[in-house]
Structures are given as C-alpha cells and as structure tokens.
Symmetry: C2
Subunit: 219 residues, 2 copies
DNA sequence: GCTACGTATTTTGTATACAGAATGCCAAAA
DNA sequence: TTTTGGCATTCTGTATACAAAATACGTAGC
C-alpha cells in the first residue's frame, strides 16, 4: 500500500500530446500552419475532446498559439523569438553547468569523456547525425547531474521551441568546427569541476549558436 | 484588415484558468488538496469540459499535479521543490537584471528610485503589504525593461509556484531588514547600469530568500 | 471587372452522455 | 479484531451533440 503515485498507463491525450509535439518539433507541421481539431482528431482516430486537450497542452508549452474562436496554429519562429529564447536557454544551461560541476561523479566524468570522444570522431567523419546525438547526450548528462527536475523541464520545453529552427538551418562547417572546440572547453571545465567556468562556457556556447543560426536562416 | 490577431473576449476556460490560478496562488486551495472536477465545475456554474481544460492548463504550469484516472490535486510544496525552484528563479532574475541594466531609460531609473523610496518607507512604517507591493513593482520594472517576453512568462510561471510558500511563511524582522539593504544594492547597480553586478545581486537576493524561507517553514 | 452584402458551410466552444477505472463500504471469514 | 472479497458508488476519460462565431462563397449592385 504505497503512498506514492504508481505509474499508470498513459491516457489518450498524453499520447496525443507526445505525438503532436514530435510532429511540430521535427518540422512535419510547419511553423504558422493552422491546426484543425477535427481533421487531426480523425487522422489520429480519436474524438475531438482528447485532441483539444493535447493542443492546449502544447499551447501552454509555447509550441502552439491559440486565438479564441479562431483555433490553433503551430507557433511561428521569428527572429525575435530566437533572440528572446537563446539568452534564457543560455542562463538555464549555465545554471545546469554550475550545478553539475559541483555534483558530478568520477564515473560521470568518464562518461563525459567518452561522449566527447564520440563527438570529436563524428565531426572528423563528417557525420552530423552522430555529432548531434553525442552533443545532445552531453547536454543531457549535464542536466542529469545538475539534479534539478524543475530546471530540466523548463530547459527541455524551451529547447523544443527552438529546435525547429535548428533543424531547418544546416550548420556551417566553420560553426561546426568552432562548436567542437567549445566542447573541449566544456569537458575541461567539467573535469576540473569548475562550476562558474562551465557555466560561462556553456552560456557563450549558446550565444554563439544563436549568432550562427540567425546568419544561416537570414531571418 | 489587420493581419495581426485582434484581442477577442476571453473564452470560458481562460477565465476559469485565471480564477483557479488565483485560488491556488493565494492559498485558498491548500497544497496537496484534491481537486474534484465536478464539484468545481458546479461551483463555478459551468460544465466539466472548460473546467477540465483550466485544470490541465494549470498542470502544465506546475500548479496542479495530475494522476491518470485519479484526478488532480494542488501541487504540494516540498522543501525539495523550493530548493529546486529558487536557483532557477535566481538565474532567470539575474538574466533579467543584466538585460534591464543595458536597456533601462533615464525615466525608468527615476521610477525605480521612487519605488525604492516607497519600499524603504513601507519598511520603516512596518507596512509589510506596502513593502510587498513596492517589491513586486521593482521586480516587474526590471522584467519590463529586460524586454524579453519569453523570460517574463517563464519567470512569472515559476514565481507563481513558490509564492504560495512565501504567503504561508511570515518574513522575519531580520530578513526583512536584510532584504531592504539588498534592495539598495539593486538600485545602485541599476543606476550604474552595471548588468553583471545587478545580475549577481539579484541572484544572491533570491538565494537569501530561500534560506530564510526554509528556516521559517521548517520544512 | 470589382466591391459589398447576405447566405451557407465550417469550425470552435460548451454541454451532455456513456464506459470503465478507482474508491469506499459492508459483510463474512480467519 | 483484522483481513479479504465483492458490491455499490463516485469520478475520470472519451465520445457525441448542440449553439454560436467565423469563414467561404455566390450573387447583386455599381
């Protein structure tokens, strides 16, 4: 007789929320595209009720914009949006880095080294897909060792909103090389357990991403 | 024929969301209290449908926790929650401060001075209500001049989650005095348009709040 | 040909209905 | 007394129904 909430099977609208979120983040639904409740519900083989709840959940996350009596649309990505989101991302990642540097274990540093090696190797091979995976894994590792669930949720929510832009814009070779170099600094700061330095490096890392992204997208 | 979304009258569930949010933030619904859809809907004189949407919106904000097939409850405030939320609050406020210091106008600094004077006077008068108002207004001013809508929304959402705890715990005289002193530094950094300093001061300000809060609540 | 107006259709917002899971209660057995 | 099983009730999750607003379309007027 546990007092803790036991994991239940996810309800329909939760599944729908996940599916729809993926569709938006992966770019299958273009920014600005109108979302028709009925049509979507039919496509997923459900009624409008759980579909509505999913759409509204994503609206609270910022992936969807609602206009009363006019329906929902995939949130557009403007240059202003990116210029707003990235500083916040930077501040949150910096915090994650500071915390992670304090709390990371030896084993964790080992994992970070492995991931970093894979990241460098992928870059050498010109394997952007592999690079992206290693990159995501490193940021995830930092988040995990930061050990702050609130921070994790906010960061991932915000990341989902800008990832769409990153998918759209291919990285430039120069930016890619620079990012790899920055990752060396990230690893170094982590190994040294230097929180403030790791925070600063991550923040700069993200600021650089924005600059390059805006250039590429020419927004 | 404007292309921009014109303001429409708010739909029922939007109003319900606001009402319910206030009830939770102001403490009328105690943390951990179970929320009965039917009962709430009847109390507000609406059907379950918009009531559900309101509840779920607040769940995405973190004010309500949902357990599938078991319903909703006001999110409890644990010590761990506060210890997670405050560092994030600090990082976001620090960012707001950095941005505001860069962008604030002369008139804005003037307003800040006025608000600060009111804050100090309220403290001298032992008027905590007035102090709170001035305090909120100063933080709001910083947010406004930061000019980052994304940041504003995330900060306010997170603030709503911890405000409940602050309402519960009366401030100690010592902490109150210290907070007033810290506010002098905040104003000074703002007048000097020293972003990094303002960021650091705000971050410390919030860290101190947490310490005192945990002592008072004895969580 | 273009605009303006009125009607038909679509779509959202809300209410109601129904099915199944969770909870509470009571009785019977150990 | 405590526990266990089953039944009744309550509540959530989903589907459907209905009303009103928004949109699309066609026609009349210029």
């Amino acid at each position: 007789m546990s007092l803790h909430a036991t994991p239940r099977l996810p309800t329909l609208h939760q599944q729908l929320t996940d599916r729809l979120r993926r569709m938006i983040v992966e770019g299958m639904l273009a920014p600005g595209a109108k979302i028709n409740e009925q049509a979507l519900a039919e496509r997923f083989g459900v009624s409008r009720t759980p579909m509505r709840e999913a759409i509204r959940a994503l609206a609270t996350e910022g992936l969807v914009v609602l206009t009363p009596r006019r329906g929902a649309a995939v949130a557009p990505i403007t240059r202003a949006d990116l210029e707003e989101a990235f500083p916040v991302l930077g501040a949150l990642e910096a915090l994650a880095g500071e915390l992670a540097a304090q709390r990371i274990t030896e084993a964790g540093i080992g994992t970070a080294r492995d991931l970093h090696a894979r990241l460098v190797a992928s870059h050498s091979d010109g394997d952007f897909r592999g690079y992206s995976k290693a990159n995501a894994a490193i940021h995830r590792l930092i988040l995990d060792f930061a050990g702050n669930e609130t921070l994790t949720r906010m960061l991932q929510s915000l990341d989902g909103r800008v990832r769409r832009a990153r998918v759209q814009a291919n990285i430039s070779p120069e930016r890619w090389a620079a990012a790899v170099a920055e990752h060396a600094e990230i690893l170094a700061a982590l190994e040294a357990r230097d929180g403030p330095r790791l925070g600063a490096v991550l923040r700069q890392h993200i600021a650089n991403k924005l600059t390059s992204l805006i250039e590429r997208l020419q927004l």
